[in-house]
C-alpha cells in the first residue's frame, strides 16, 4: 500500500467526495494555498465556485455553511487552527447542533468543520488548544479525531457523506506523519474504535496524537511484563463504549489518556462511563492523564510539560498495577 502524509490523505478524501457529489464545496481562509495543505490545489480541479477563499470572518463563514447545508449544499469548512472555532462557536452551538431538533426534524445539515487540534509546535496558546471536549459537550454534533493518515481519509469521507454537522479535528502533531493509505475511496464508520494493541493487564483509552504516545508507553511497560491494551477511539461522538467496556471487563484496570484540559475533558467522560458500567470489574482506581490545567505555553520546555508525556502515561499504568485490589 502506498505511504502518504496525513494532509495528502485528507486531500484525497476531499477529491473523492467532490468528484462523487457536485454539491460538496470547500470553503475557508486561504484554502487554495492552505497552510495545512489538505485543501491545496483543489480549486485547479474543481474551480473557484467549489473551492472558496473566504474573508477572515469565522462566524459568518460557519453560519454561511449552515445556511448552505440547509438548502442543498454539502459544505466542508476549513477553519485552519482549532482555536478559531471559538469565533464560530455561536453558529455551531446555537444553530448547527440544534436546528434540526429545534425545528422538529424539518431539515438536515450535511456539514463538516475541519481544523487542526492540539499542541506540539510551540505555536502558543492561541494556536494550540485542544478543542474536542467543547464539542463533545454539545448535543447532536459529531466529533472525529483521527490518529493515522489511513483513518483521516476514511473518516473524512464518512463525515462528508453524513447528513449531520461533524467536527473533523486532525491532530496538529499528525500533519507530517506518514502511513499506509490506499488510493481507492473507502469509508470508516463513525463510532468504531481501533484496538491498536491487545493486552490483558491494563486498558488504555485514548484518541488522536496521544495514540502514538500510549503505544510508546505500552512498549516500555511490556519490557517490565505489563501488557497494555491500547484503544484508539477515533471518533469521540458517537463513541465506541462497547469496545472500551469489553476491554476494561477483561483487564480490570483503566487509564484514560487525553490531550485536553483535565476538567470535563474527554478522559472525564470515559472514566465516568467505566465507573457507571464496569465498576465491579475494576481492580484499581481509574487513572486519568490529561493536560495540565493551564493555557498552552510557548517555550518548548514548558509546552511539553503541559501535555501528557510518555513518562506520565507509564507512571499512571504503574499506579494502576500497584493498587491493592479492593
Amino acid at each position: 500500500m502506498p505511504r502518504k502524509a496525513s494532509v495528502d490523505a485528507i486531500r484525497e478524501a476531499l477529491r473523492s467526495e467532490m468528484q462523487r457529489d457536485e454539491s460538496v464545496v470547500v470553503m475557508g481562509e486561504d484554502v487554495k494555498l492552505a497552510v495545512f495543505a489538505g485543501t491545496r490545489w483543489l480549486h485547479r480541479e474543481f474551480g473557484d465556485e467549489r473551492v472558496i477563499n473566504t474573508p477572515i470572518s469565522e462566524l459568518a463563514v460557519a453560519g454561511a455553511g449552515i445556511g448552505a447545508a440547509a438548502t442543498g449544499i454539502r459544505p466542508v469548512i476549513d477553519l485552519m487552527f482549532g482555536t478559531f472555532l471559538y469565533l464560530a462557536l455561536d453558529q455551531i452551538a446555537n444553530q448547527a447542533g440544534a436546528m434540526r431538533y429545534m425545528f422538529g426534524g424539518q431539515t438536515k445539515l450535511p456539514l463538516v468543520f475541519m481544523t487542526v487540534n492540539g499542541s506540539g509546535i510551540s505555536a502558543g496558546h492561541h494556536h494550540s488548544q485542544p478543542m474536542h471536549p467543547l464539542f463533545m459537550n454539545m448535543p447532536l454534533i459529531k466529533v472525529i479525531v483521527p490518529s493515522t493518515p489511513y483513518d483521516a481519509k476514511g473518516l473524512l469521507i464518512t463525515a462528508i457523506r453524513d447528513d449531520n454537522p461533524v467536527l473533523f479535528l486532525s491532530p496538529l502533531a499528525l500533519g507530517s506523519l506518514r502511513g499506509e493509505v490506499p488510493d481507492e475511496t473507502y469509508t470508516i464508520p463513525l463510532g468504531e474504535a481501533a484496538i491498536r494493541r491487545e493486552g490483558d493487564d491494563v486498558t488504555i483509552c485514548t484518541v488522536g496524537a496521544m495514540s502514538r504516545r500510549c503505544m510508546e508507553a505500552a512498549r516500555t511497560l511490556a519490557k517490565e511484563g505489563i501488557e497494555c491494551e491500547v484503544i484508539d477511539l477515533r471518533t469521540l461522538k458517537p463513541w465506541d463504549k462497547a469496545c472500551l467496556l469489553r476491554s476494561v471487563r477483561k483487564t480490570g484496570r483503566f487509564v484514560a489518556v487525553d490531550e485536553s484540559f483535565p476538567v470535563c475533558g474527554a478522559a472525564s467522560e470515559w472514566a465516568a462511563t467505566v465507573a457507571e458500567k464496569a465498576f465491579q470489574h475494576l481492580r484499581a482506581p481509574v487513572q486519568r492523564v490529561s493536560n495540565l490545567d493551564v493555557p498552552l505555553p510557548f517555550s518548548p520546555v514548558l509546552e511539553s510539560a503541559a501535555v501528557p508525556t510518555t513518562e506520565r502515561i507509564v507512571d499512571a499504568v504503574r499506579r494502576c498495577m500497584q493498587a491493592e485490589p479492593a
Binding site: T54, V294, L302
Partner: protein, 325 residues
C-alpha cells in the same frame, strides 16, 4: 515636513531602524533554526508602528497582532526581553510562556500581541473605556491588519467605541494581504477607511510607508481622543516586504501568490529609505548622524541576540506558575 520637529523625526527614525534591524536578525535566527514556533516579520511596515507610537506617551495603551514585534519595540519595549521571549527563554517578557505572538509589556502600556486575528481591538476598546471611567487623558490604540477588518470584532469594537465616545484609535495596517489571499478577493471596497462612516467616526487614509505622514495623521487623532471627542479609524496603506510568516517557502513549494509589481512596490516603498531620504533632504540631520544611529542600533540588536542566547530556559516547574492572581 515643516511641522515636524527635528528631534521628533530622529526619534521616529530610531524606532524604524530599531524594528528593521531587529526583524532582520529574527529572520536570520529563524532560518538558522534557532527559534521555536513561527514568526511573522514587520519588515516593510515599520513606519506605521513608529509613526503612531512616537505620537503616544508612555502611559498610553496599544494592542497588537500576530505581527507584533514592531509594535512592542516602537512602544519602547526592551530589545533584550523581546528577543528572549521570541527564543522562549526565562528572561523574556512573558518568561517564555507567550512567544512571538504573545509579547506584552504592561509597564509601557503594551497590552499584548495576539495570535487571534482581530483579538486586540475589543481589548483596546476596553482600555479606552477604562480611560474614560478613570477620567484621565490617556489614549488607546489598536493595531490590526486589513484581514482583521473582516472580523466581527472590528465592527463591534468600532461601534462600541463610537457609541460610547471612547479615546480609541483604530490603526489598520493595510498591506493588502491576509496570509496568501489578496484583500481584493475578500472585500468589495478599495479603502477600509470608508467603514469609519458606518460607525460615525472620522476615517483617514495615510501613506503607511511614510512615518512622518503617519505621525501627523495620528497626532490629530490623539488630540481628538485626549479632548474626549471619541475614536478615529486610520488606514495606513503599506506593504509586507517578505512572506506572511517566515519559512512559508517550505510549504508553498515554489508557488507564488503576489504579483511581481506588488513585490516591486514593496521594495520601492521602503519606509526606512523613505525616512532616511526625507531626513537628509530636509536637513534634519546629516549622513554622519544617521550612521551613528545605525551603529548604535546594530550593536543593541546584537547584544539582544547574545542576551537571549545566553539566557536560561524556563524551569519546568514554572509551567504551574503565574496561574491564579
Amino acid at each position: 515636513m515643516s511641522d515636524v520637529q527635528p528631534a521628533v523625526a530622529l526619534d521616529i527614525y530610531r524606532r524604524v531602524l530599531n524594528i528593521r534591524r531587529f526583524e532582520e536578525e529574527v529572520g536570520r535566527l529563524f532560518t538558522a533554526g534557532e527559534l521555536p514556533g513561527v514568526v511573522h516579520l514587520y519588515i516593510g511596515e515599520e513606519a506605521v508602528a513608529a509613526g503612531v507610537c512616537a505620537a503616544l506617551r508612555d502611559d498610553d495603551y496599544v494592542t497588537s497582532t500576530h505581527r507584533g514585534h514592531g509594535h512592542v519595540l516602537a512602544k519602547g519595549g526592551d530589545l533584550n526581553r523581546t528577543m528572549a521571549e521570541i527564543f522562549g527563554k526565562e528572561t523574556g517578557y512573558c518568561r517564555g510562556k507567550g512567544g512571538s505572538q504573545h509579547i506584552a509589556d504592561f509597564s509601557i502600556g503594551m497590552l499584548g500581541a495576539c495570535g487571534i486575528v482581530g483579538g486586540g481591538m475589543p481589548i483596546a476598546t476596553g482600555a479606552g473605556l477604562s480611560i474614560k471611567l478613570r477620567k484621565t487623558d490617556q489614549v488607546s490604540v489598536a493595531f490590526f491588519g486589513d484581514g482583521a477588518a473582516n472580523e466581527g470584532s472590528f465592527h463591534e469594537s468600532l461601534n462600541l467605541a463610537s457609541a460610547m465616545t471612547l479615546p480609541v484609535i483604530f490603526v489598520c495596517e493595510n498591506n493588502q494581504y491576509g496570509e496568501f489571499t489578496p484583500a481584493r478577493d475578500t472585500m468589495n471596497i478599495e479603502d477600509i477607511a470608508v467603514r469609519a462612516g458606518g460607525y460615525g467616526m472620522p476615517g483617514h487614509i495615510v501613506d503607511g510607508t511614510d512615518a512622518l505622514e503617519v505621525h501627523a495623521v495620528v497626532n490629530q487623532a490623539v488630540t481628538r481622543a485626549r479632548n474626549g471627542e471619541g475614536p478615529t479609524l486610520i488606514e495606513a496603506k503599506t506593504h509586507r516586504r517578505g512572506g506572511h510568516a517566515e519559512g512559508e517557502e517550505a510549504f508553498l513549494a515554489g508557488q507564488t501568490y503576489r504579483l511581481p509589481e506588488e513585490e516591486e512596490m514593496a521594495r520601492l516603498r521602503d519606509p526606512l529609505l523613505i525616512l532616511h531620504e526625507r531626513i537628509l533632504h530636509e536637513g534634519v540631520a546629516d549622513a554622519h548622524a544617521l550612521e551613528n544611529i545605525e551603529q548604535e542600533t546594530t550593536r543593541r540588536v546584537a547584544d539582544a541576540v547574545t542576551f537571549a542566547r545566553e539566557s536560561p530556559w524556563p524551569a519546568e516547574e514554572s509551567v504551574l506558575e503565574d496561574t491564579w492572581a
